[in-house]
């Protein structure tokens, strides 16, 4: 078990980085609590694999320190760091049996053969691989092979954290949830720190206790799935999480009122104050799930025109237009919605305000 801290960490793949764009990872400080299940979520190229490889020691960061339980491990090689890593496609030793695959990390460290056997059997049982122990690893399916990769990490008693780099990419969809459940079981049983890199938000939100969202080399938010959903700290988080993503509308500030193309929405004064202090381009965000659609006008309702209604079974996606912006609303299947004139309700407590992409609360 380990508490992983990243202090002043930054990384560039170039020898002489000059501009911020030369950095794959921009300066960051982070703490990964011991025993936590974290998802590292972000689009391709955002730096999540780089970050993972720095934690595991496969890459030496250009700047900053990595600490495990307060101990500086930045200079240490991967095999000295008590971590295990599972990669995007199954990495197994083709010529060995499943047993030998699982035993490999222990034998390399000179563990006594009797203990190797015990450990391997324990891990095999936990991963439901006992029946295959004598078989050649190369003959098994992708999901079994990934279990072996995972097993090689679990087999070491001293392992503190397991890092996953999009491990379910090559697994058949109907086997994915079995493996995900297995990972959750292992997490609950051993309380290891797990860091799971993915670009799939469903995977991230269902697997992790805390999600770290990355964009363009930076960590834009760390929080529970609920926090990410309800209070995104960055327009990117708003857009990336949720399907469809958050509606964003450019706006201006006039006193304590947000103005969108003539439409005036009052704000709480502290909020308006923060927005003024932040400066920059303002955007108003609201999630499609929180927009309400009314058949008849009410106080605070905004006149809009519904352009399309998609019926997707137990919910509907309504595309509407008001104040020069097109928004999407996600409504329950029995909500009244037809193409034509309608009224939308924007609950004030669900509105988010962003200045230059960052939330002003």
């Amino acid at each position: 078990m380990a508490r992983i801290e990243l202090k002043g960490l930054a990384h560039s793949y170039r020898a002489m980085p000059s501009a911020p764009t030369d950095y794959a990872l921009r300066q960051m400080d982070m703490v990964w609590e011991d025993g936590g299940a974290y998802a590292l979520l972000g689009p391709s190229g955002c730096g999540k694999t780089t970050l993972l490889n720095i934690i595991s020691g496969l890459i030496r960061p250009s700047q900053g320190r990595v600490l495990f339980d307060g101990r500086d491990v930045t200079e240490l090689a991967p095999q000295q760091r008590n971590i295990a890593q599972v990669f995007q496609f199954p990495v197994i030793y083709d010529t060995m049996t499943v047993f030998d695959n699982l035993a490999f990390p222990l034998r390399n460290r000179g563990v006594a053969e009797a203990e190797v056997t015990t450990r391997v059997h324990e891990v095999a049982e936990m991963l439901e691989l006992t029946a295959d122990l004598k078989r050649r690893a190369s003959g098994l399916g992708a999901d079994a092979k990934q279990k072996i990769s995972l097993g090689r990490g679990l087999v070491r008693k001293d392992v503190a954290a397991i890092l996953f780099d999009e491990p379910l990419t090559v697994i058949d969809p109907h086997l994915k949830w079995i493996l995900r459940r297995k990972l959750k079981q292992i997490h609950q049983q051993f309380r290891l720190s797990l860091i799971y890199v993915t670009h799939d938000q469903i995977e991230a939100l269902t697997f992790a206790d805390q999600v770290v969202v990355m964009y363009d080399g930076q960590v834009v938010q760390l929080g529970t799935p609920q926090q990410l959903f309800e209070t995104p700290a960055h327009t990117f988080v708003g857009y990336f999480i949720g399907s469809p993503g958050m509606n964003l509308m450019p706006c201006k500030l006039d006193g304590d009122v947000v103005v969108i193309d003539g439409l005036r929405l009052p704000l709480a004064p502290e909020r308006a104050q923060r927005a003024r202090a932040a400066g920059g381009q303002l955007q108003l965000g609201i999630r499609p799930e929180f927009l309400q659609c009314l058949a008849a006008p009410q106080a605070d309702a905004i006149a809009a025109e519904i352009q399309a209604v998609e019926d997707l079974g137990n919910y509907k996606i309504v595309t509407a237009r008001f104040a020069g912006n097109t928004v999407k609303a996600k409504l329950p299947e029995d909500a009244p919605a037809t193409v034509g004139a309608a009224w939308l309700l924007l609950p004030r407590e669900r509105m988010q305000l962003y200045a230059d992409g960052r939330s002003v609360g």
Partner: protein, 290 residues
């Protein structure tokens, strides 16, 4: 890819078929023809059945050439394959050094084979060649034109010089195809360099090594120009291999009958080897590693 069933595709293949048939089938028919006939004069041909085959199979010189050929092929394989693997492992993987090494490696492969023979012919001489001169200066008596052992050594070294780059390039390509994740996982598992070689690199090179092995075996079995230019088959017969023996029979002595019979046998041996080659490659593609 799902292939469409369409016999009209034969039209596309026709040019190839015609060319290769012209170059292969007609000559082969000629050879078969010669192998079962005795030509006594311009229009006097007698069908002799398997007479030439029997004569050829009992030919002592042929047996000797065959044994020499097998020894030669075995020897160069034993050296070129491990050497090729070792060099491929040692080559740089990035930067200008990589380009430079690859260019240098390709050089011996693009030299006309008779020039390869000439290069070593010069290099190995004691009077005007750097190699021969240095070896003799070191106290070892070396003369490839007079001593069979020296001739053998020179021919083997020449073949190694000429063809190891092919093995190196094939192995290098195979190594580059191994995804980084394998090496990363091995580091995390605490594997030693030897373990990495034994459990990751060597298994993943299996396919490439097979290709290299079969190519070198077959090409060495057919070798002619280089040893012929270097030693002419001598001293005596000591470096006369199969192709040269056949060529002498056919073109030198004009013993058409035995030459044709031997050609068929020679061709059948290679055919068998090609069949094995083809089957193995096909199975690799299907069952395939990685």
């Amino acid at each position: 890819m799902q292939k469409t069933e369409n016999n009209k595709a034969w039209f596309l293949v026709l040019p190839v078929f015609v060319c290769v048939a012209f170059s292969a089938l007609i000559p082969l028919m000629t050879v078969v023809n010669y192998s079962v006939q005795d030509i006594l004069g311009p229009n006097q041909r007698v069908f002799v059945g398997t007479e030439w085959f029997l004569e050829v199979l009992q030919d002592e010189d042929l047996h000797d050439a065959l044994i020499r050929q097998i020894e030669f092929s075995a020897l160069i394989l034993l050296i070129e394959i491990p050497l090729g693997i070792a060099l491929a492992l040692a080559l740089p993987t990035q930067g200008w050094r990589t380009s430079l090494c690859l260019v240098l490696l390709a050089l011996p492969l693009l030299i006309p084979w008779n020039v390869v023979g000439t290069i070593w012919q010069i290099f190995g001489r004691g009077d005007i060649g750097l190699g021969g001169y240095v070896v003799n200066a070191l106290g070892v008596s070396y003369n490839y034109t007079a001593e069979p052992l020296d001739a053998w050594v020179t021919v083997v070294v020449m073949d190694i010089w000429h063809w190891t780059p092919l093995v190196v390039l094939l192995c290098y390509a195979g190594l580059r195809a191994i995804p980084d994740a394998y090496y990363q996982a091995a580091r995390i598992d605490g594997a030693s360099a030897w373990a990495v070689f034994r459990y990751i690199q060597l298994p993943k090179l299996r396919g490439v090594l097979l290709i290299a092995f079969l190519l070198r075996f077959m090409d060495s079995f057919m070798i002619y120009t280089e040893p012929f230019v270097l030693t002419g088959g001598g001293p005596g017969n000591s470096t006369t291999f199969l192709s040269q023996y056949l060529t002498t029979l056919a073109v030198g002595q004009f013993d058409v009958g035995p030459a044709a019979a031997f050609s068929i046998i020679y061709f059948l041996i290679i055919l068998l080897l090609s069949f094995i080659f083809y089957t193995v490659i096909q199975n690799m593609g299907k069952g395939g590693a990685s």
